[in-house]
Structure formats: C-alpha cells, structure tokens
C-alpha cells in the first residue's frame, strides 16, 4: 500500500535526526510550562475555584495539560500539509511524487497521518512529563476511556487539516497564515483558560471547531464523567467529521484543478 510507504518514508526522515526529535519534545514542553507556570504564579497555587465552577476541573495543570496536548495534535495534519508539502516543493520532489502511479489523496493523507502519529508519540512524552512534574494522577481506566474519543478526534482533525492541503498546493507558502490560524485555535477552543470568559458570540463560534468538543469530552473523562454525560460533545465531533471531510475534499478538488492549469511547480 502506497500510504504505508509514505508513512515509512516520513518516519525514517524524522527519526534519523535524534537532535530534531529532542528539540521537538523540548519545544512541546517549554510551550506548556510557560502557560502553566504563569497560571500558577498568578493563582499562587494550582487550584482555582473559579475554574472549577465554570469547567468542572479546578486543578489548573490538569486543565492546561489535556487541552494543550490535544491542541498540538489537532494542528498536526495542518502542519503536515503546510510544511510537509512545502518541503517537497523546495526539494523538487513533489512533482515526481505526483507523477508516481499513486493517487494524490493517498500521498497527502500518508503525509498527514505520519505527522499525526509522530506528534502523538512526541505528545505522549510531553504528557507523561507534564503529569510527572505537576503530579497529575492518571488511571489506566481514564486512558482507556479516552481512546475512542481520541480516535474520533483524530478523524475530525484530519478532515479539518485537509482544507489546507489544497490551499498549500495552490498558494505554496502559507506558513504565516497557518500559524495565525493555529494560535487562534488556542483562543477559540479554551485551551489555557475557560471559554466562559469570552463573549457569547465567540463561544458559539468555537462550536464549529472540532478541538473544542474534543477537549471538552476528554476533560470530562478526566473528572470521571461517563460517555452519556459527554454525549453532546461526541455528537458534535461525529457531525464535524463528516462536515470537514466534505468541505476539505471539495476545496482540495477545486485547488487541484486550478493547480493543474498553473502547474505544481517548485521553488
């Protein structure tokens, strides 16, 4: 299967530079620590009564860690399309790969999937590190219960990221645009602060982002909620999987038609 070959290629390229793996983990950890330490310095501790009353989780490190790890994973497919394809364009290998007897969607999906798996591995390390230094208690049953929601979230994230696959093929360098988008998602999905502090219209808007529901569902599991209690978030996620895959595919097909006229080109 071509998709497996693409994943293997991406894995080999990433893990052959151990310093790169280490730096990615460090970036993940430092970014997390900045906000958790800031929250703790402002709070003078780790527990916020206000946070507990608005979200159900009063322990700030737990709240931030769950949200942050999911945010990182949610932007992973987007990053894969924006930087992975750009890298191939820079190296001049994109056109030859397109010419290979493989469907272009399979090729792109392979890149996104491999980045998502790699980021999941990196985030597992960051999550374990965060849980260790902030003394967050995690049980096996919480992890097991989170898995199906995580898989559903991955499907939604892949569909959401697919929107960028077509755009990057057509516009080539959309890194800054993607960066703005990624940081906006931190705000709109309530990663480091409760969404309740935002205006009502922003809270409504946040519902169209899969990350919002994914974070809400998994935080719910962490405080012992059952599947039926987090059912609204899961229903939203299922709906958004279909919506984003449809939108992403439609944009991709349109961008592909335009790119065939202009040429895939390089740098």
């Amino acid at each position: 299967m071509a998709i497996i070959a693409v994943i293997e290629k991406e894995f080999r390229m990433f893990f052959r530079y151990p310093l790169r793996v280490f730096s990615s983990i460090l970036v993940g950890i430092v970014f997390l620590l900045q906000f958790v330490f800031f929250g703790q310095a402002v709070l003078g501790g780790r527990y916020s009564q206000l946070l507990a009353s608005s979200t159900g989780i009063g322990d700030y490190p737990t709240y931030a860690l769950v949200g942050y790890v999911l945010w990182w994973l949610s932007v992973s497919p987007m990053e894969a399309y924006v930087w992975g394809i750009r890298r191939e364009l820079q190296r001049g290998t994109f056109e030859t790969n397109i010419a290979a007897p493989v469907r272009i969607t399979e090729l792109l999906l392979g890149i996104a999937l491999s980045w998502l798996i790699m980021d999941s591995l990196l985030m597992t390390v960051v999550f374990a590190f965060g849980a260790l230094i902030f003394h967050i208690s995690i049980t096996f049953s919480i992890l097991l219960k989170s898995l199906p929601v995580l898989m559903l979230s991955f499907l939604a994230f892949l569909g959401f990221g697919f929107i960028f696959a077509g755009l990057v093929m057509m516009l080539k360098h959309i890194g800054p645009f993607a960066q703005i988008f990624e940081f906006s998602m931190l705000f709109f999905s309530g990663i480091f602060f409760p969404l309740g502090v935002m205006p009502g219209i922003v809270v409504e808007f946040s519902k169209i982002l899969p990350l919002t529901h994914s974070v809400s569902a998994i935080r719910g599991i962490f405080i012992g909620k059952s599947y039926s209690e987090i059912a609204p978030s899961i229903t939203w996620l299922i709906l958004l999987v279909f919506v984003y895959w449809l939108i992403g595919y439609a944009i991709f097909r349109w961008a592909e038609r335009v790119t065939r006229v202009m040429g895939y080109g390089g740098y």
């Binding site: 900045q34 916020s48 703005i180």
Partner: protein, 273 residues
C-alpha cells in the same frame, strides 16, 4: 576609507535582508499577532483563574500586582533579546541553506559587518513592533505603562543587550560547525524562552533551573528592567550590578568564541549543502 566601505557593506547587507523579509509580508502580520496572542492569553488566563486583573500572589513574589503589565514588560525584553540571538544564528543558517554563505564570507567585508547588517533589520522590526504594541496594548488591554518608568528601563535594556549580543556571537560560532543547525537553534531559543522570566518570575522555578536562568543574560535583564520601571534605579542597584557583570562576561566570551570558530573555519573550510 575602510570605515566608509564597511558602512556601505553594512547598508548593502541590511537592504538585502529587508528585501527578503518584505517578500513575505504575511510574516510581519503573523509576528505582530504573536504579541497579541501572548498578551491576550496572559489576560484571559488571569481572568479565567482569578476573576481579577490583579494578583496578590504575584505581588508577593515580584512587587507587581498587575500580571498583565508584568507579562508585557517580560515579552518586550524577550522579543528584543531574541532579535540578537536569532539575528546572529539565522543569518548563518539561512545563507547556509540557500548555498550563499561561502560567497558572502568571501566578499571583501568583515564578518561582523555581515552579522550586524542582518541584525540591524531585526532591531528595526523590533522597534517597529514595539511602536505598534505599546499604544495598542494600552488601548485594548488597559496595560498600565508609565512613560517615564518605561524610558527609565531603556538604559537597563541596553546594558542587557551587550550580553545578548555576546551570547548570539557564541551561538553563531557553534552554528558554523553543525551539519543540521535547525534543531540546535530551536533548543537554544526554547531554553531562552523558558528561562527568560518573561511570563513568570524565575524564583518559582526549581533551583537548578533558577541557576541556569540567572546564568543567561535574559532573566537578569527582565528582572532589572521590571524593577527599574516600577521602583527606580536606587532600588535596583543589585540587579543592575549583576547585569553589568554578566553582560561583560558574555560580550568577552562571545567575541573570543566567535574569533576561535572563525579561525577554525579558515582551516577546515565552511560547510555547504
């Protein structure tokens, strides 16, 4: 005569760097938005956790009760400080990846002119961003910045800058020898980011990290600037004294480290792709 030629070369490098930057204008918007992202997060985290604009806990540790002003000053020192580190290392790396480093180094100008030309554009951008940030932060976020206090902090920032340039030169020397310098720069920038004391006082870090933070020029600069802005020079003599010392050490060691690496480069040759 030599000075005039070096200045012309400096201008040439700066113009080239500026033109490259301008060809990706969206980066400027993205960079500016990063500041709003940083400060906006700080505000919303504070309100989401405490429901207030002031933190008694932060006041106990740092003397600042307004956590947003605390974060804004830290962010400005960090942004300005990273200008030098990033300017020095990326000017090598960008040309290395483009395959033009050897030609640039072979041109009849001093190495320091090449680096300063690249850094100059970043300093200019840094000031430009500050000119955008300060009024908008005051307007949108209600940040309390006393103009006199702010001006008082500038000489202290300049003292810290000497040390930051020294660290940048050391890093540039190391980068010359790495086959894949990207991860090294990422690690260095992240260490600076984490240990700069931009968003939180370094005193809340574990002891070994506190030592490391105080051994780099960023956290001592942030602390000295904050103290001078809020309490004046006479109350920050200890912090300023330490900053002068550390800046002196970094500037001398940076110069020596870079000279050594350049001598090595003349023997071994510069790597290229």
């Amino acid at each position: 005569m030599v000075v005039t030629e070096e200045l012309r070369a400096l201008y040439g490098v700066a113009v080239k760097s500026w033109r490259i930057f301008l060809s990706y204008r969206l980066w400027m918007i993205s960079d500016i938005m990063l500041g709003f992202f940083f400060v906006g997060q700080a505000l919303l985290i504070g309100i989401g956790l405490t429901g207030q604009r002031n933190s008694p806990s932060l006041q106990r540790i740092t003397g600042y009760s307004d956590y947003l002003t605390f974060a804004v000053l830290g962010f400005m020192v960090l942004g300005f400080g990273l200008t030098f580190l990033s300017g020095f290392v990326w000017s090598v790396v960008d040309e290395l990846y483009a395959g033009t480093l050897e030609y640039s180094f072979a041109s009849p100008m001093r190495r320091i002119t090449f680096f300063l030309g690249n850094v100059l554009v970043r300093i200019l951008l840094s000031f430009l961003y500050m000119a955008v940030y300060v009024p908008l932060f005051i307007l949108i976020f209600g940040v309390h910045i006393n103009p006199l206090g702010f001006l008082r902090g500038l000489p202290v920032l300049l003292i810290g800058t000497v040390g930051m340039i020294g660290l940048g030169m050391t890093a540039a020397g190391i980068v010359l020898y790495l086959k894949d310098p990207g991860p090294f720069i990422n690690i260095l920038e992240m260490l600076v980011f984490a240990l700069s004391g931009a968003m939180y006082p370094v005193s809340i870090l574990p002891k070994p990290l506190q030592l490391l933070a105080n051994a780099m020029p960023y956290a001592p600069t942030s602390e000295a600037v904050r103290k001078v802005v809020a309490f004046g020079y006479s109350n920050a003599l200890g912090e300023i004294g330490y900053l002068i010392l550390i800046s002196l050490v970094y500037s001398i060691s940076g110069y020596l480290a870079y000279r050594w690496s350049e001598r090595q480069a003349r023997i071994l040759g510069l790597k290229s792709y």
